[in-house]
């Protein structure tokens, strides 16, 4: 391995936080810490931290938001950092951008790091767009000269030319964000840290922003650390990725594998009745799910019959007419593919109490791949059971058009019945 290429190296990064209210109570802890320091002992509170699992209640007031994170980034590499909410992504970025220090460990770097944790930091509403470009640029580490040489490009990229000498408080929120991103996009640090900035602006601007980021990383050979929940963006931008879970590294390596690893980790196929992360009043709950082809021992395949069976826990004897059930299908990148709902079709036996619902497709038009299902049930228009990414299923490659031609998933996620002719 060529060590010369490594631009950033993190060793044993850990970060401890205190839970609950940080208030006057800390003075006793401070004194305690100070006392053990004087006696040359270890910080007593460093020992007690627990791993950071959001949903279980721990016995200690201290948690490790990050624990023993190690990674290396090579020059020109775009590293994606993925993980669920609370996995420690933002904490890691905060440490990288020197906003807060690690509790243990260190990060060595050979380049300047600039972060874009949230765009528009330090914008002042009373100042004009132009003045804010200078101020924001300087906050992000540019000199006045650098900004002055790029100001026309920045204004042009933001698309706010007409308002550039108007105070920013008169801007729409979208315009503010555009302006802020424009400033950040023209930063020239060796390492750029980006957190979820793509979630802003309209579709046109998002496209522009992704394009600019690709330029930054590919064209200009800049090293980028990128945090996002948008798997499609991660896949298209990053060359490798780090998956965090409860403050620990779960996976490190190739971006495709990392994204798959992350998505596998977020499913729960086995037993839906013990699923924690569900919302709703619980009047009607999903107990069990079966996904199969024509019959139970056939796996779903493109172009063949498809069945999803839901066994329900009907606690209030709700009738089918009062129940609405939606299925939202996402692909492995988290892009929504389809929405199936009882409200779209007529169901048989409306007046009966529901204990089971079956969704059938005669000729499955999903192409080969893995699909994630979010289930949503209402009873009398009140949410009863709502589970994000409740389960996933795999569709096997099949001959949809019946002519032996298999369409690649990259070309077409869903397949359509269509005709081509030269007549009207």
């Amino acid at each position: 391995m060529n060590n010369k290429d490594i631009i950033l190296k993190a060793t044993n990064i850990s970060k401890q936080y205190r839970l609950g209210l940080v208030g006057t109570g800390t003075i006793s802890h401070d004194l305690n810490r100070w006392w053990s320091k004087i006696r040359g002992k270890e910080d007593p509170y460093l020992k007690v931290g627990e791993s950071n699992d959001r949903s279980t209640k721990g016995s200690s007031d201290y948690v490790w938001a990050l624990q023993d994170i190690n990674f290396e980034v090579k020059r020109g590499e775009v590293l994606g950092i993925i993980g669920k909410n609370g996995a420690g992504k933002s904490t890691l970025l905060k440490i990288l951008s020197k906003v807060t220090g690690p509790t243990t460990g260190n990060i060595k770097t050979k380049g300047r790091i600039a972060s874009l944790l949230e765009v528009g930091t330090g914008f002042h509403g009373e100042m004009t767009g132009r003045e804010n470009i200078y101020l924001n640029g300087a906050i992000l580490g540019m000199t006045k000269k650098e900004i002055a040489s790029k100001i026309d490009e920045i204004i042009d990229f933001s698309g706010c030319e007409r308002y550039i000498d108007t105070p920013v408080k008169r801007y729409s929120s979208g315009m503010t964000v555009r302006l802020a991103f424009a400033v950040a996009a023209f930063l020239e640090p060796e390492i750029l840290v980006i957190d979820e900035v793509l979630a802003v602006g309209d579709a046109e601007f998002q496209k522009k922003a992704i394009g600019k980021m690709q330029d930054i990383s590919r064209g200009e050979g800049r090293t980028v650390l990128f945090v996002s929940h948008n798997m499609a963006a991660v896949k298209s931008l990053c060359t490798s990725a780090l998956v965090l879970k409860n403050g620990k590294t779960e996976f490190e390596g190739d971006v495709e594998e990392a994204v798959n690893f992350y998505l596998e980790g977020s499913e729960n196929n086995s037993n839906i009745s013990v699923f924690h992360d569900r919302k709703g009043n619980g009047k009607l709950l999903i107990k069990e799910v079966k996904v199969n082809g024509k019959n139970e021992d056939v796996k779903p395949q493109t172009g063949l019959p498809f069945k999803m069976t839901f066994i329900l826990d009907n606690n209030v004897q709700a009738k089918l007419i009062d129940v609405q059930m939606d299925l939202r299908l996402d692909d492995n990148l988290g892009q929504r593919i389809a929405w199936l709902s009882t409200s779209l079709v007529d169901c048989d036996s409306d007046d009966e109490v529901v204990n089971k619902l079956v969704f059938k497709i005669d000729k499955l038009n999903l192409n080969k791949g893995k699909y994630y299902v979010t289930t949503y049930i209402t009873v009398k228009n009140e949410i009863s059971d709502w589970i994000q990414n409740a389960f996933s299923f795999e569709v096997e490659e099949g001959d949809y058009y019946g002519n032996g031609v298999l369409v690649s998933t990259n070309q077409s996620k869903a397949l359509f019945n269509f005709k081509v002719s030269n007549e009207l």
Binding site: M1, N3, K4, I6, K9, Y17, R18, V22, T24, T26, I27, D30, K94, I95, L96, S97, K98, V99, T100, G101, P102, T103, T104, G105, N106, I107, K108, T109, K110, G111, R112, I113, S115, L117, E118, T121, G122, H124, E126, M127, E131, Y134, L135, A138, I139, L140, G141, M142, T143, K144
Partner: protein
């Protein structure tokens, strides 16, 4: 892999901290930010006000008038023969204002900027420094007011027969630097402590007011000594008293001047500034977790 340890890293982010970890090179690199912060403070302060920068004049003038009425006319505190009380008070208030503006302006650095500090890194010390510089402009304007009244009293009235600037006036720039450093250092100490213990914010707002009474702003130190000798050490060792007394001596020739008191002011403000810098530096890295 052996070579990896001998590589030269640009910098290292780690848990350990040196006592003073000031990177002057880095601060210098961010000098444009300092300038832009000062500019921001100045141009945004009086946006959407009618009188605008006139407020810079109004506040010290009115305070001086009130002080003159109450402390000199009502309570008959002597301000020296041949020195108009109004001018005496204006001198005290002008110099006090600079110190207190620096102190209060910097004392909530971390709290007021937590949003921006939580997102981006830049040498944090830039922020309190920018306060000191932008208040310097305000001080300059107030000093002009003082000078114009001085000219008025000397040339258009006969009340200011003894109000003569001393040769020590040449040391005034240093005195201003001491005021700034003292306010900055004190403010940085307070701002570091308020991140964890918010009680101090309450202390600052009224503490500054109380401190003014103990800093010989509206009375000469000598008068306090003669009236309340048993408490006079409280006022006498207050470095702000020394600074204000020196300021009045330099500009109006009232009070005494000694190299010792000048050095006292110098040493105290530099020490306070350095202590403030150390504490500020220590807090800077972890404050975002405790603020």
């Amino acid at each position: 892999m052996k070579t990896s340890d001998t590589q030269d890293w640009l910098y290292i982010i780690s848990a350990k901290r040196n006592l003073i970890n000031l990177n002057f090179k880095e601060i210098w690199r961010y000098r444009d930010l300092l300038f832009l912060f000062v500019k921001r403070d100045i141009i945004t302060q009086y946006k959407q006000t009618i009188l605008g920068p006139l407020w810079y004049f109004i506040q010290p003038l009115f305070t001086s008038v009130i002080f003159t009425l109450i402390f000199n006319n009502l309570a008959s505190i002597p301000t020296g023969v041949g020195v108009p009380s109004f001018l005496f008070n204006l001198a005290g208030i002008t110099s006090w204002n600079y110190f207190s503006a620096c102190l209060t302006g910097t004392s909530d650095t971390f709290k007021a900027n937590q949003n921006i500090f939580g997102k981006v890194y830049f040498p944090r010390v830039i922020t309190p420094l920018s306060v000191v510089f932008s208040k310097l402009l305000k001080f300059g304007i107030q000093l002009l007011v003082f000078i114009s009244f001085y000219i008025y009293f000397v040339f258009f009235t006969d009340k200011a027969a003894n109000a003569v600037p001393q040769t020590a006036l040449l040391l005034l720039p240093f005195l201003i630097i001491f005021m700034g450093l003292f306010g900055l250092g004190f403010g940085m100490i307070l701002s570091s402590m308020t991140t964890k213990y918010r009680d101090l914010t309450f202390l600052v707002s009224f503490g500054v007011q109380l401190l003014m009474y103990g800093s010989a702003v509206m009375y000469p130190l000598s008068y306090f000594k003669s009236q309340l000798p048993e408490y006079s050490w409280l006022v006498e060792y207050n470095p702000m008293t020394t600074i204000i007394e020196l300021f009045r001596y330099m500009t109006l020739g009232v009070g005494e001047f000694s190299i010792a008191s000048f050095l006292y002011a110098a040493i105290i403000s530099i020490v306070v500034f350095l202590v403030g810098l150390i504490i500020f530096n220590k807090t800077e890295k972890s404050f975002i977790d405790t603020v």
